[in-house]
Every structure is written in structure tokens, then in C-alpha cells.
């Protein structure tokens, strides 16, 4: 299971990084989403991978750490909100300038 989770995080991160380095806003936003998925799984696994154990202290000796699950929830909510914001802002920039490149427009240098 460890190798599966670890490689999933690695592949998500690699794909996300590749897309983030693209020129246009749409792939960059998708890349950031992939990166946030990767970091969510990473946070989740930071409490160790345990299957079928309750996330609360009981009489049982095995339990899964509840804190990373709370952290992941917070991180999911925040990244979801941030992605919505960046989609709106880049849509505004695209519709205003008719150009969805992430870098500085050439025209500005020529001014």
C-alpha cells in the first residue's frame, strides 16, 4: 500500500509541476489542482497508513491519527476556494485582454 500511495503522490506532483510550467492559464490551473491533490494525499499519509482503525482513542490498541484528517479537510477547503478564485481572475484577464498567457504581455514592454 505504501508504494502505491507514494507513487501516486509522486506521479501527481510530477504531472502537476509539468502543467504548472506551461504558458497558458488553463493548464497551469489544472496543474495546481493536481499539486493540491498530491499534497492532500501526502498530508493524509503523514499520520501513517493504517487500514480499518477508528480515528479516535478507544480501548483498541490500534487507532489512526485523526489530526492529519482534520488538516486535510482544511487544506481541501482552502485549495478549493483558492482554485475558484484563480479561475475567476484568469477568466477576467482572458476576457479583458483576449489572451490567456500567464507571462507578461509583450505589448507592455513596448510601451
Amino acid at each position: 500500500m505504501e508504494i502505491l500511495v507514494a507513487s501516486a503522490i509522486g506521479i501527481l506532483t510530477a504531472g502537476g509541476l509539468y502543467l504548472v510550467l506551461r504558458l497558458r492559464t488553463f493548464p497551469v490551473i489544472i496543474g495546481i489542482s493536481l499539486l493540491t491533490y498530491a499534497v492532500n494525499v501526502f498530508l493524509f499519509s503523514s499520520g501513517r497508513l493504517i487500514v480499518g482503525a477508528p480515528p479516535i482513542l478507544t480501548d483498541a490498541t490500534i487507532y489512526s491519527d485523526p489530526l492529519p484528517q482534520a488538516l486535510v479537510l482544511t487544506a481541501i477547503v482552502i485549495s478549493f476556494g483558492m482554485t475558484a478564485v484563480v479561475v475567476m481572475i484568469s477568466l477576467g484577464a482572458y476576457l479583458g485582454g483576449n489572451d490567456d498567457h500567464v507571462d507578461e504581455p509583450v505589448a507592455e514592454d513596448a510601451q
Binding site: 492559464t25 495546481i32 503523514s46 483558492m82 481572475i89 484577464a93 500567464v102
Partner: protein, 517 residues
């Protein structure tokens, strides 16, 4: 347990929704509430600074849960001083936004402004790393709204870059937090400071990676070269008062570096020794050099000021990267100066913008109210470039002095003094083009006569400039207080014991099972 410590976060958190819900269409009521809130905030943060001035550490346990289990807010000398600085800067920025009517050019300026203050205050006061991340996000999402306030394609484009860069920074922050939690099982800063010590010497790989990741995140916030690329466009395109408020945001990064790397990963900690010492100083010197060269090379006034902020952050990071008590003390004195000077310069840039077609550094007809604006620019530029008699010079002397005994003395002195010279040339070029050469150009006949900026705008800028003068006049007490802050930072035992031994719910619970780590 008093509740004063959480007020700087609670107060704007209540004011902002109230403005949105109750005073949405009445800009006058919004202004009154917003200014009253910030004035109250100055009072509260001053009270907190007063309480912590004797070296005591204030603690607020949210929900009364004891420290490693619950989230705590901690106020010591440094955090309350930074909170006071934030509130003070915010008051003048807010007055300027009202005086220049920037707040009328889009929706929800005052609500976003309050949320921004809430995030900054939270970042300064929190004692928990994940909580620091949450407050970073609060201040960032408010800053996204403020940054694109009043719209415009150029601003939105710069906003996209700003948001994307900060989203990447946040992702990196989460990776660092996950790594730290996996290695130590806690995210409370005081608890972390104790547990990092216990990591076995053979198993430090994870914690070393986390320490460097965390430093990278804070370096992005502090705009240290080569992680500064988000700053020039976004600060230049942001509305003037917003850019002035953002002057404190880079300091949040510097604050976090000071806090984490004196307490959690102190310079003498074996596990992380030699990780950041050797490259943080060159990066800081490079930031200083690139920032000041940017001042000389900029073709627009707003970009010039943005590069001055990068250079100024470089100068803040130089003494921090020494991690000596004298260095941190000098950095704290300079952080106050740099925040006020950068805020004033961004506001002055906006004063110039009001009377000109654009901010290109080319001779154009004089701006309305040019005499007073020019005088303010002159003073603020002297302060930013670090010429005598203002506080920039005092701060630079302290930094040079802190670097005198180190092996890197030649590098520090050469770069700091060289960069000062370049920035003096850059600022004098900008000032003479903007204000002196302008007198030889007659205004175009068909150009409508621009009305000079309102008195309130000048009051706001003048207030910041007079604070700079006060920071110079009272440099003696200020440096003494900065030294006492740095003394407290290098003796974190009082902080740690206050956080961990104060009783609360679950205090008597058995210590967390170490075997599960």
C-alpha cells in the same frame, strides 16, 4: 485568562461581515466603521505591546484546550510589536484610500481590507504552524480581492500571476507541514522546538527537508531573490493604497523566518545545522543588489518602488541570515523603517499617478500639487535609500555593525554600500525627471486641469513620513527595544514553558504515545 490577545483577530472578523451585510451601499458608514475598527485595533495592539514590553509572554488557548492538543495564540515582544506596526500602517493606508476615493472604485474595499488585517494579525499572533498556514491563506485571499480592486486588464493579468505564485507557495507550505508532522507528530511551535531536539541524529533527513521547504515558503513571502518574481508586477499594478498595505506582507515572511529559525530550528541545532546558513546570506545580498539595480533600471515609478521593496527586503534579510542577536535586533529596527518607508512611497506614487497620464519616468507636465508631492517624495526617497538623517541610515548602520564581526564582513559591507549608492542614483534620477524637468514642460492646452489630491491624502502620507522621522528621533529607545526583542528570541525557554505548562483542558492527559511515531 484574558481575551485581549484574540481581539486583533476577532474584531476585523466581525467588522468585515457587518460592513458587507449592513452597510453594503453606504460608503460613508463603511468608512466610519472601518476607520473606527482600525483605531480600536491600534489601541488593542498598543495595550498588548505594553503588556509584553517587560518580557512576559501572553498566551491564549482557543477553547481552553492545553497547548500541544489545542491551538494557541502567543504574544511576545516581537509579535505584538509587529501587530502594532500593522495596525498603524493600516490606519494611514485606510485614510489615504478614503482621501483618494480609491475605496469607491470597486466593491467591498473596506470588508476586504478588514479581512486582510485579520489575516496579518493572525499570522503574527499564532503559536501553531498549521494555524500560521490558515492565516496566510486568509491574508492571501483578501489580498487577491484587494489586488484586483477596481479591475482593469493589466491589473487582472498581474493578479493571475500573483495568485498562481502564491498558490504554489501554499502547496509547498503544506508539503513542509506534512513532512514536519510525519517526523515529529506535532505542529505547535513550542512543542516542535522541544521535539526537534529529540530527533535521532541518524534520522534527520525528513526534518532537514522540512526545514528547507519551510524556509523556501517564507522566502517566497519575503520576496528573496530568486523567489521574488511575483512581486514587481503585482505591487506595481495593485491600487496605490493596496500596494502600501502589502508593504507589511513581505514582512510577514521575514517575521516567520525570524520566529521559526530562532525557536524551532535555532542556528545551533545539530539536526539542521549548515542547511540555510550558507545560502541565505548570498540570496539576501543578491536581493539587495537586484532590487537596487532595478530601482536604477525601472522605466516606471510604480516598478521603481516595487524594486525598492525587493532591495529593502534584501537588506532586512542580510542581518536575519546572520542569526546573531545583534543581527536580529538590527533587522527588527529596519523592518519597522522599511514598512513605513515602502508604504509612504507607494502612496506617493499614487499621488503622482493622479495628475499624469502614466507613470513612465519621462518628463511630463507637472502633476497637480507637485510641490508638496515632490517634498514628500524627497523625504521618503531619502529614507528608503538610507541617507542621513532618516531612519534608513540608522538601520543601515546597525546592519553594517552587526555584520562587522562576521567572516562575511567584506561582502556585506561592499554590497550594502554599493547598493545604497545605486539606489541613491536611481531615486534622484526618478525625482528629477518627475518633478524638476516637469517644470520646463507646459501642460497641453486641451488637457483638463487635474485637481490636486485631497488634504486627507496628504495627511495620510505625511503621517507615515512623520512616523519615519519619529523612528529616527527615538532611534535610541527603538534600538534598545529591538535589542530586547532579539534577547527574548534567543532565550525561547520562557516562550516554550509558558505555552506548554499553562494548564488547560487535557493538561493532565498522558503524554502522546511516542511509539506510534
Amino acid at each position: 485568562m484574558t481575551h485581549w490577545l484574540i481581539l486583533p483577530i476577532i474584531l476585523p472578523a466581525f467588522i468585515a461581515p457587518f460592513i458587507v451585510l449592513a452597510a453594503r451601499y453606504q460608503i460613508a458608514i463603511q468608512r466610519v466603521i472601518s476607520v473606527a475598527g482600525i483605531v480600536a485595533m491600534i489601541g488593542i495592539t498598543f495595550g498588548l505591546s505594553w503588556q509584553t514590553a517587560d518580557g512576559s509572554v501572553l498566551l491564549y488557548r482557543l477553547g481552553d484546550w492545553a497547548a500541544p492538543f489545542g491551538i494557541v495564540l502567543v504574544g511576545d515582544r516581537l509579535s505584538t510589536l509587529m501587530a502594532l506596526l500593522t495596525a498603524t500602517l493600516a490606519l494611514f493606508v485606510l485614510l489615504y484610500a478614503i482621501g483618494s476615493k480609491w475605496d469607491e472604485r470597486g466593491w467591498h474595499f473596506h470588508a476586504l481590507f478588514q479581512f486582510q488585517i485579520m489575516g496579518i494579525m493572525g499570522a503574527f499572533l499564532t503559536g501553531d504552524l498549521f494555524n500560521l498556514f490558515v492565516f496566510f491563506e486568509v491574508l492571501l485571499i483578501a489580498s487577491y480581492g484587494l489586488m484586483i480592486h477596481a479591475g482593469g486588464t493589466a491589473r487582472l493579468r498581474a493578479g493571475v500571476q500573483y495568485v498562481l505564485f502564491n498558490l504554489l507557495g501554499s502547496t509547498l507550505f503544506l508539503f513542509a507541514l506534512g513532512a514536519i508532522y510525519a517526523e515529529t507528530g506535532t505542529l505547535n511551535m513550542a512543542d516542535l522546538a522541544q521535539r526537534v531536539d529529540l530527533v535521532a541524529p541518524s534520522e534527520t533527513a525528513g526534518i532537514r527537508i522540512a526545514a528547507v521547504l519551510l524556509l523556501l515558503v517564507f522566502a517566497i513571502k519575503a520576496a528573496v531573490v530568486p523567489l521574488h518574481f511575483w512581486l514587481p508586477s503585482s505591487y506595481a499594478e495593485a491600487p496605490g493604497p493596496v500596494a502600501a498595505l502589502f508593504a507589511i506582507m513581505t514582512k510577514v515572511g521575514a517575521y516567520a523566518i525570524i520566529r521559526i529559525y530562532t525557536m524551532v530550528f535555532p542556528p545551533d541545532l545539530a539536526a539542521t545545522a549548515g542547511l540555510h546558513g550558507w545560502w541565505l546570506l548570498p540570496a539576501a545580498l543578491l536581493s539587495l543588489a537586484i532590487g537596487m539595480i532595478g530601482v536604477l533600471a525601472a522605466r516606471r515609478l510604480d516598478r521603481l518602488v516595487a524594486f525598492a521593496v525587493i532591495g529593502s527586503m534584501g537588506l532586512v534579510m542580510v542581518p536575519i541570515s546572520l542569526f546573531t542577536p545583534a543581527g536580529i535586533g538590527a533587522a527588527i529596527y529596519y523592518i519597522i523603517h522599511s514598512t513605513l518607508a515602502a508604504g509612504a512611497l507607494f502612496l506617493i506614487t499614487d499621488l503622482v499617478r493622479a495628475g499624469r497620464a502614466n507613470l513612465d519616468l519621462t518628463p511630463q507636465a507637472p502633476v497637480a500639487g507637485a510641490n508638496l508631492t515632490a517634498a514628500l517624495f524627497f523625504i521618503a526617497a531619502i529614507a528608503m535609500a538610507g541617507l542621513p538623517p532618516l531612519s534608513g541610515f540608522v538601520g543601515k548602520l546597525l546592519i553594517l555593525d552587526a555584520g562587522f564581526d562576521t567572516p562575511y564582513m567584506i561582502w556585506i559591507w561592499a554590497v550594502v554600500l554599493g547598493a545604497s549608492l545605486i539606489s541613491v542614483v536611481g531615486f534622484s534620477r526618478a525625482g528629477s525627471v518627475l518633478f524638476w524637468k516637469a517644470n520646463s514642460i507646459a501642460p497641453a492646452d486641451d488637457a483638463p486641469a487635474a485637481s490636486p489630491p485631497s488634504k486627507l491624502s496628504y495627511v495620510a502620507v505625511g503621517g507615515l513620513v512623520s512616523l519615519l522621522v519619529a523612528h529616527t528621533v527615538f532611534a535610541g529607545p527603538a534600538t534598545a527595544y529591538a535589542a530586547s526583542i532579539s534577547e527574548q528570541l534567543f532565550a525561547p525557554d520562557a516562550y516554550i514553558s509558558t505555552v506548554l505548562t499553562t494548564k488547560g483542558k487535557l493538561s493532565d492527559a498522558p503524554k502522546k504515545d511516542e511509539d506510534s511515531q
